[in-house]
């Protein structure tokens, strides 16, 4: 008998504060473990989650307070997991930021611009949309 595929979506909503990153990480990690992710997938997922959540917590609401919602569900018959971040902060497409020039030397290299670049390298199908006043960033993590 094969393991049952988890299909139900789970979600968490937290204040968009850096201090809440550990809660978001454990929420995602628990799901990924249940879904059968190995250590490398867990680390890559952690990286993707940190880069997105830190962006939201740092920029989405500027000086105001606001929330971030994270939802997660199984996809492709249990072979992948889809993760979605939503916030109601200012409209911003992180995928519109030019990618850093990774061929420059240390002296020439700008400090920054790497977070979203990393996200796009470790995750698949990274997509941004703006729906009903929400910034929505979706991506897919393959389990193997």
């Amino acid at each position: 008998m094969t393991d049952p595929v988890i299909t139900e979506e789970e979600r968490i909503r937290v204040a968009a504060l850096i201090d809440n990153l550990p809660d978001v990480q454990s929420f995602v990690r628990d799901y990924m473990c249940k879904a059968g992710a190995d250590d490398m997938v867990l680390l890559n997922t952690e990286l993707a989650v940190e880069e997105i959540f830190v962006n939201i917590a740092s920029y989405a609401y500027e000086d105001k307070s606001g929330e971030a919602e994270v939802s997660i569900r199984s996809a492709e018959n249990g072979e992948s997991v889809d993760i979605c971040f939503a916030d109601t902060g200012k409209r911003f497409d992180p995928l519109s930021v030019p990618e850093p020039d990774i061929t420059l030397s240390s002296e020439e290299r700008q400090i920054g611009g790497l977070g979203i670049f990393l996200l796009r390298q470790v995750a698949e199908d990274v997509r941004y949309s703006y729906e009903e006043g929400k910034n929505i960033l979706r991506f897919r993590m393959r389990l193997s």
Binding site: I18, L21, E46, L104, G112
Partner: protein, 91 residues
């Protein structure tokens, strides 16, 4: 004068401030030949890369060198995909 610094298990938004301050403290003592022993580090995010890049620039500017050793699988992969493995000295 050179020094070896053992990096923490995780270099993320939560630990980076302390990591960054440790490196600044080393630089403040005039040490610009630095070995980062990354054996204990299983995870690094962009904030940690920025700290390492800033220290690498500081070392080079002062005629020294930053060397990374014992980087594990995840750290190596992140260094590679960001091109950091081309600009940093990794042994």
């Amino acid at each position: 004068m050179s020094e070896i610094y053992r990096t923490p298990e995780k270099i993320d938004i939560g630990t980076n401030t302390a990591f960054s301050e440790d490196l600044k403290e080393i630089a403040s003592r005039g040490i610009f030949d630095l070995v980062l022993d990354m054996e204990d580090t299983v995870y690094i995010s962009s904030v940690g890369l920025r700290t390492i890049l800033a220290m690498d620039k500081e070392c080079k500017k002062n005629g020294g060198k930053l060397v990374i050793k014992n980087a594990g699988e995840m750290v190596n992969k992140v260094m590679e995909i960001t091109g950091f493995s081309q600009i940093l000295t990794i042994v």
